[in-house]
């Protein structure tokens, strides 16, 4: 059973089609990234997945419960951090968490224990009795996350959770997402930060102009554009470019104190370079292969779409 199942979601605002036939399946226990440029349809999709926005057509199931037909039951299984991640500014940090926990039918003892645990984890226990309106953006975001995870939801939705945060808050958010995933939560995260998605997610969908244009693991998405890679190598001795030419190497150019070798087959090229070094008695100081980043893959895909 998939934790999140969406089929043929469609949403338009007047003449603008924001989401066009989006379907996605997120396996239980997965951290699923949803990437797209501004206005690509990420937030509209996540709002439909969480029952905040009613789709024009299509279905959403959370833990096998239809978000439109069984909204209360489906929402009991999820925690949501909306794009702007706001909580009630007129309540204290602890009141926000306790009230949210109560909404999820948690008994008093459990919710007080969980609130305390989460406040410590998110380094907010010292400010638990302060009104949220006195908090910085990063602290508000942490309270927002605390509210979303207090009931240990099977499914966690995060819409751009690290945008505009300082390094410490960003680290806490990412650590918390990883912790929740280890504890068994399925996570769907939208982000602009491709590197973040690359290191965090086991699967990624790229949405462009309301349509999903690719879904795969980050490594496989990168591999789609991995036709040409390069190797950077430096030797202790001075080396002539012609010495480095081999069947697998299409071109070699000097780059400071090293050589950049272009190849279609990095594995063979590295072996060829080792053989050349052996034959010519050259000592290799450093060698590194480089492939396209997820960012390059993302740009290629969205520009080509």
């Amino acid at each position: 059973m998939n934790a999140i199942e969406a089929h043929n979601l469609y949403k338009s605002f007047g003449p603008v089609t924001a989401v066009d036939d989006v379907s996605l399946s997120v396996k239980k226990g997965e951290i699923f990234g949803f990437l797209g440029q501004n206005g690509a349809g990420k937030t509209t999709t996540i709002r439909m997945l969480t029952g905040v926005l009613i789709p024009d057509s299509g279905t959403v199931r959370i833990c096998d419960m239809d978000i439109l037909k069984q909204p209360l039951e489906a929402k009991m299984n999820m925690g949501v951090i909306p794009e702007n991640g706001t909580v009630y500014a007129d309540l204290t940090a602890e009141q926000n968490i306790l009230w949210t926990a109560k909404c999820y039918h948690m008994d008093r003892a459990t919710r007080e224990k969980k609130a305390q645990e989460i406040l410590i984890r998110l380094e907010l226990d010292g400010r638990k009795d302060d009104l949220v309106r006195t908090f910085s953006k990063g602290m508000r975001q942490r309270i927002s996350i605390a509210c979303a995870i207090v009931h240990s939801p099977p499914v966690l939705f995060l819409d751009e959770p690290t945008t505009g945060l300082d390094v410490i808050s960003r680290r806490l958010v990412i650590d918390t997402v990883r912790h929740m995933n280890r504890e068994g939560s399925t996570v769907l995260i939208t982000t602009h930060n491709i590197e973040e998605a690359s290191t965090l997610c086991s699967a990624i969908s790229i949405i462009h102009k309301g349509k999903i244009i690719a879904t795969d693991s980050p490594e496989k998405l990168k591999k789609r554009f991995d036709t040409t890679s390069f190797i950077e190598i430096s030797f202790e001795q001075k080396v002539q470019g012609r010495m480095l030419m081999a069947g697998s190497i299409s071109h070699a150019e000097p780059l400071g104190d090293k050589w950049r070798i272009y190849t279609d087959d990095a594995d063979r090229a590295v072996k060829d370079l080792a053989r050349i070094a052996e034959q010519n008695n050259l000592k290799i100081v450093s060698v590194a292969t480089s492939t396209p980043t997820l960012e390059q893959a993302f740009i290629e895909m969205t520009e080509g779409a």
Binding site: T44, V52, L72, N84, Q95
Partner: protein, 247 residues
Amino acid sequence: MDLRMFIWSVLMVTEKNMRIYYYKGSVVIFGLLFPFIMFLTFFIGRNLDLILFFPGFLGMMLFFSASSTGPLITPWEKREKTYERLVSLPVVIESIILGDILSGAVFGFVITTLVWIAGSSILHLPLANPAVLIAALLLGSLAFAALGTLLSSPATNTPSNIMMLSNLVRLPLIFVSGIFIPLNQLGTWAWTNMLSPLTYLVDLFHTAINGDGVYSPVLDSTVLIIVIFIFVVAAKTIQQHNLLSGR
């Protein structure tokens, strides 16, 4: 939908509203101070019999207090961007509407009951029919809290726009409901009192306190129940539409 879960969600929305919105400046001004000032403006220097005037004052008090929190909640939450979080919690649009109504109704009921207790202790007011008084307090608080929630339903994130709209609706109702101007002195405008739900509440208070209501309490109560139903359905229709259009 599980009924127990639904009732819980209504109570959670109510609790949140009570904690946050009862202390907002506009609720205190329009829900508490405004009816007192209106009362003093029309009462002082007019040589009116306070006991005869009290049912109208009680009606006005309930009308303003019950309808003062509703207009604030949704626009405030949309401005503060907490509305989206609320909708993503285990609540449905009906829980939000009923929770908003219930919090307004509790505010109106408690304030008006306190005013009644204070008024009857000081003025030694008669009480012709206690059951009708309780019915008037319950139905009136629900009806005008529902009016407040309906007024907050148009898609906006600017609370002051809704407060302006709510006063535009509420103030004229005061003058056609027999509070300051007796119904028999409205002349050619007498028909307008039939259109105002406040007329029926004030009439219920007259029946309850002085026993001098114009209409039967059954008619007054039926009208208020119909009004509650209409306001709730209208609020749901508008808010459902907002949810569809993403506003």
